[in-house]
């Protein structure tokens, strides 16, 4: 019970921290995804206008725009930015406090991640409401919406684990943001966040299906769009990856903490 209180308090603190500088939060978390959506809206409108064709690889303009609006929702719900402080904690020597607190490093950052996800649920809920009102999202039934949110939250767990792993690399690396940016770049390109995977060359798409990337954006979008998606495939591909990354993170932490020299003490 006392542990639950610690989790809840940390989640509350994390929410307060993320929302303390609201303009900064908007510019850092929501702004980039909105600009990305704006560019894609203009790009695809221009492409469809230029070709004069009704469909490109099975997508009408409306379907393409819907795809990208859902891509915005997925990016907000599934791909958080919570590992920055984690690497800084290690580099600045702040993890010394976690070593003596009755609430460890992993618990603290996971609670912060949950706090971030709670904010993002509200932000995304408001965005979906707004997009529906202005008519750029077709109506979606509640079970489909809940399935999509559920899938996104599972992806967010995997994404957090990946970010956690890059964060604990700070024991060895001067800068871990490079790894985070690389991860983000690869994911955006290979997960169907910029263009739907149907537009990729066939051989490339077939290779991609053996990687976790399509499941990070493309699959959740398809769930939101109400298309037939194999949940069994989704979970059977992503779960082993999630376990693998978590195990590597735990081992990395264990090795890293032996190197730690408490620079901040």
């Amino acid at each position: 019970m006392s542990n639950l209180i610690k989790w809840w308090q940390t989640i509350k603190i994390s929410i307060v921290k993320y929302t303390a500088y609201r303009l900064n939060f908007f510019l850092q978390i929501i702004g980039p995804a909105l600009v990305f959506l704006f560019i894609k809206y203009n790009l695809w409108t221009a492409i469809f206008e230029s070709t004069g064709s009704d469909t490109i690889k099975g997508y009408t303009l409306k379907a393409m725009l819907t795809y990208h609006v859902w891509a915005f929702v997925v990016s907000q719900l599934a791909q958080g930015h919570t590992a920055l402080n984690l690497a800084l904690d290690i580099r600045m020597g702040r993890i010394s406090t976690y070593l003596i607190y009755p609430f460890n490093f992993w618990e603290f950052h996971t609670a912060s991640f949950i706090g971030f996800q709670i904010i993002q649920l509200f932000v995304t809920g408001f965005a979906i409401f707004l997009f529906s009102i202005i008519g750029i999202l077709p109506s979606v039934d509640l079970p489909t919406l809940l399935n999509g949110v559920g899938v996104c939250l599972f992806v967010s767990l995997f994404w957090f684990s990946l970010q956690y792993l890059t964060g604990v690399m700070a024991f060895w690396l001067e800068e871990t943001w490079i790894l985070r940016v690389m991860l983000q770049m690869i994911t955006v390109f290979l997960s169907g966040a910029i263009i739907p995977l149907e537009l990729y060359p066939d051989f490339f798409r077939e290779i991609l299906m053996y990687t976790p990337f399509p499941y990070l954006t493309y699959y959740p979008i398809k769930v939101f769009m109400g298309e037939a998606v194999s949940y069994a495939t989704f979970f059977s591909v992503l779960s082993p990856w999630l376990i693998l990354v978590s195990v590597i993170s735990a081992l990395t932490w264990r090795r890293g903490i032996k190197l730690y020299t408490a620079a901040g003490m």
């Binding site: 900064n24 560019i39 221009a46 070709t51 690396l173 910029i194």
Partner: protein, 266 residues
């Protein structure tokens, strides 16, 4: 100090900036290699995104694959130089404002704008220039560039970089008034994102706003419009005027910013 000796002085300082930045970059070799990989990945993802799109369409708003790729490679070249000369400094600026480190910059007998935005050079981005130059040359060749067009390219690159820099400097001035400047850096990067696509894809209102009020679309689109059709010289005029106007705005904002700057370290 005469103008020429002042230039010499600034160049000698800049030489020191380059050598110290290179020494710092080389002392963390893994980070250096990762940064090279990161920049190459960025190049690859930008290139293949457009390539994949053109597998399904012949033209986008009047530009074919070769013209679009010429634009893209030009923007990536500007981006490469931007990464080397400027990118690091914006992040350092937001940190320095928060930590009070800006005090030491202001005290130097140099222009504080120069010290803030040109202090850190990123040599790890130099390798990215190689594929950017190769791809640009390839598509310039396909688009039948004359000798005159080739000669214009370096000048246009300098103009594009100057415009991009001055717009970003102005945006960065907002950090003086905010407690946390990281968000402004993300906003600045989003402006760059907008400029990585040709103005042709945007609607009339967007094009107008981002070619005049915040002239970020001119950075890549204006030189390519001009290189592909020399009669469109007004694009260059717009770029020069925009750079001048934004330089003036920067000087005013910087002065005001320094007045409100409240050193965190004192």
């Amino acid at each position: 100090m005469s103008f020429s000796s002042e230039i010499k002085h600034y160049l000698s300082v800049y030489k020191k900036f380059i050598s110290t930045s290179t020494a710092v970059a080389m002392s963390f070799r893994t980070s250096f290699v990762l940064m090279v990989m990161m920049d190459l990945m960025f190049f690859g993802s930008a290139y293949f995104t457009v390539d994949f799109i053109f597998d399904h369409v012949d033209m986008v708003m009047g530009w074919n694959r070769n013209q679009f790729m010429l634009f893209l490679s030009y923007v990536l070249l500007v981006d490469g130089f931007h990464m080397i000369i400027l990118s690091q400094n914006f992040w350092r600026f937001s940190d320095d404002l928060k930590s009070g480190q800006l005090d030491y910059t202001i005290l130097r007998p140099l222009s504080s704008i120069f010290s803030v935005f040109f202090r850190n050079v990123r040599p790890s981005s130099i390798p990215t220039l190689i594929p950017a130059i190769v791809v640009f040359s390839y598509y310039a060749n396909i688009n039948n560039f004359s000798l005159f067009q080739w000669l214009l390219v370096p000048l246009l690159l300098i103009l594009s970089l100057a415009l991009l820099a001055v717009v970003e400097f102005v945006i960065s001035c907002a950090m003086f008034w905010l407690v946390e400047g990281v968000g402004i850096n993300f906003f600045r990067m989003q402006m760059q994102q907008l400029s990585r696509w040709p103005d042709l894809i945007y609607g009339a209102a967007t094009k107008r706003v981002f070619s005049t009020l915040v002239p970020i679309l001119l950075v890549g689109s204006a030189p390519i419009h001009f290189l592909l059709d020399m009669s469109k010289w007004h694009y260059l005029l717009l770029m020069v005027v925009a750079t001048g106007v934004f330089w003036f705005i920067l000087l005013k904002l910087w002065e005001r910013g320094l007045q409100v700057y409240d050193s965190a370290s004192s």
